[in-house]
């Protein structure tokens, strides 16, 4: 298998300028060079092979998006090297752009006041996509993502889920080799998330598209990624099989129940009560011992409840676990 992405000692430092306000201030800003340096990515190295799906994880502000922006040619690295498909993204930006697809979950890449179809046709012209390929792709994506429901709707009127489906399809129209996804499921409901994940899987399997995705959602990781790269505080902390992390991922979950009334004995087998305040009770349980469904069923059989919710472990907890289990690649200086 050949290497598609090669990142070596990649670093990015931002200069954040001190900003003066007002007319005279903006004049002074022209000449002043007062700034502080912020290290967003530090000495990150990894390679990705063709056809892999890699989860690029980390807490907010860890440097995930900055790394993606360097891989896509949006930002110029401060030091280190990066190649995608053999191209240096910031130097050969246009060549690189022809062979990658990009979706940033936070905003659309489509044209706000154009219907989806016209946006796609514009992309066809921009990427010079042959007619046959264009029609084949639109048909296939329509089948997988039901684009037909909103193909004539202006992008600004789409729901978040529809917009994400349109953006994903748009990013793949020109048959890119690599797909960069930044938070592709952020803000979506469970059904929409499942659909997006299934689509990514299918595209990866059928077209050998290499996928690098950042996410906050550990479910995304479990469903999609065999391999995980973890960065925290700008540095690479873990790079390896998801299976290594699996144990950490599937450990314990929290179940929070609002009972209809205060019961005297609310103990449930296989679940440890960790917290109680009035009618609100929190249990800790391990899905390996008891499934969430079985647990809820056991509660419903005995008590009346008002509300119930399950809390998944989040990225922050995963990182904590990585730190605690000594799986760290670059231990911080103050790490025991």
């Amino acid at each position: 298998m050949d290497t598609v992405i090669d990142v070596r000692a990649l670093s990015k430092t931002f200069k954040v300028y001190h900003h003066r306000k007002g007319f005279l201030g903006s004049f002074a800003n022209l000449f002043s060079r007062k700034h502080r340096l912020v290290q967003a990515v530090a000495q990150v190295s990894f390679t990705v092979k063709r056809g892999e799906i890699v989860g690029y994880l980390g807490p907010n502000g860890a440097g995930k998006s900055t790394t993606l922006k360097m891989l896509t040619g949006i930002l110029v690295p401060s030091s280190g090297s990066v190649t995608v498909n053999g191209y240096i993204p910031h130097r050969q930006r246009k060549e690189n752009a022809k062979r990658i697809g990009v979706v940033f979950g936070q905003r659309s890449h489509l044209w706000f006041d154009l219907p989806v179809q016209e946006s796609f046709e514009l992309l066809q012209r921009i990427y010079r996509i042959p007619q046959a390929q264009y029609h084949h792709n639109v048909e296939m994506f329509d089948e997988l993502l039901s684009l037909g429901d909103f193909f004539q709707t202006p992008v600004r009127q789409l729901s978040l889920g529809q917009r994400m489906r349109a953006d994903l399809a748009a990013a793949l129209l020109h048959n890119p080799d690599v797909l960069f996804l930044d938070e592709p499921t952020v803000g979506l409901d469970v059904v929409a998330k499942a659909r997006i994940r299934q689509f990514i899987q299918q595209i990866n399997a059928e077209r050998q598209v290499t996928v690098v995705l950042t996410t906050h959602d550990l479910d995304d990781v479990e469903k999609l990624c065999k391999r995980v790269i973890l960065i925290d505080d700008a540095r690479l902390r873990f790079d390896g099989e998801l299976a290594t992390l699996r144990r950490l991922l599937s450990t314990e979950r929290l179940l929070i129940v609002d009972y209809a009334e205060v019961y005297s004995d609310i103990s449930i087998p296989n679940a440890h009560m960790t917290y109680q305040e009035g009618t609100r009770v929190q249990y800790r349980f391990s899905p390996e011992e008891i499934s969430t469904a079985a647990l809820i069923k056991a509660i419903l059989q005995k008590f009346k409840i008002v509300d119930i919710s399950v809390q998944e472990p989040d990225i922050e907890e995963l990182i904590k676990a990585v730190y605690e289990d000594n799986l760290l690649l670059n231990p911080p200086a103050n790490f025991p």
Binding site: S26, L30, A40, T66, G73, V76, F104, D113, R125
Partner: protein, 266 residues
């Protein structure tokens, strides 16, 4: 050729979007035109009282005004993307441009086309034509060609100013309002013969920011006017090319700026 047809496609889409609100579009068009009519009335009222300004008659000044206003109106019409570049960066729209296999300069150009500037443009053309009818310019083919080049050069000059203002966003995120001194201030200043100003001021707007090349030198050429403050004949003849050169230089500045782009919300 493909780039040109894609550009026209982009522009067509933009114009269609603006025409979607036909009433507000017409209103803007009319207000643009009427505001600029008042603009020139101010100058005319001044001349009603003083008759002449440093050896220039009202209609000669009308020529100055017409040329510079046409250039600025066209620049604002076609280079609106640079004018509003700060918001493009703020919304992350510039990131979107960087992931496309097209040049950034090209894409910002193609981003917006402000059709309502036709209001301002037609007012400027009317002033130019009226001024011309009162002047005794013998229009030869050479002079027509020169005028055409001068209008292109002047438009390029103003686009260049907008490009500098836009490129400053690569460092400050907040665009510098200072560029407005040169655009709007420049038009105000350039509506009068530059010979009425102080020496240092003239030199600044000839050598540093070559505003004099937009309308002052071309008017001297068209009117066959010799002025002590005017440059030699050769400079006057080549004035139209200065604006084009200026735009090329700002395009290089732009390219350099893009490599300093920091994006937003890392």
């Amino acid at each position: 050729m493909k780039s040109l047809s894609l550009y026209l496609h982009f522009i067509t889409l933009r114009i269609r979007a603006q025409m979607a609100y036909r009433f507000s579009f017409t209103l803007e068009l009319l207000s643009q035109a009427s505001i600029s009519v008042i603009d020139f009335l101010m100058i005319a009222i001044l001349f009603e009282r003083f008759k002449q300004l440093a050896n220039w008659t009202l209609w000669e000044v009308g020529l100055l005004y017409g040329i510079i206003s046409v250039c600025f109106a066209v620049a604002e019409m076609v280079a609106r993307g640079f004018d509003t570049f700060q918001s493009l960066v703020g919304r992350g729209a510039f990131d979107n441009m960087l992931i496309r296999p097209l040049g950034t300069f090209y894409q910002v150009f193609a981003h917006e086309f402000q059709l309502r500037r036709v209001g301002k443009l037609s007012q400027a053309l009317v002033v130019f034509l009226i001024a011309n009818s009162h002047l005794d310019i013998s229009w030869t083919l050479g002079k027509l060609g020169y005028l055409f080049l001068a209008l292109i050069g002047g438009t390029c000059f103003f686009i260049g100013l907008l490009v500098i203002g836009a490129a400053s966003c690569f460092w400050t995120v907040q665009s510098i309002e200072i560029i407005n001194i040169f655009t709007h201030g420049g038009i105000f200043m350039g509506s009068y013969p530059i010979s009425i100003y102080q020496r240092w001021f003239r030199h600044f707007f000839t050598f540093i920011v070559p505003l004099a090349c937009v309308n002052y030198f071309p008017s001297l050429f068209l009117l066959n006017k010799i002025e002590p403050a005017g440059a030699s004949r050769i400079v006057v003849q080549f004035a139209p090319f200065i604006g084009i050169l200026f735009l090329c230089l700002t395009a290089l500045f732009w390219k350099w700026g893009v490599s300093h782009y920091q994006s937003t919300g890392h």
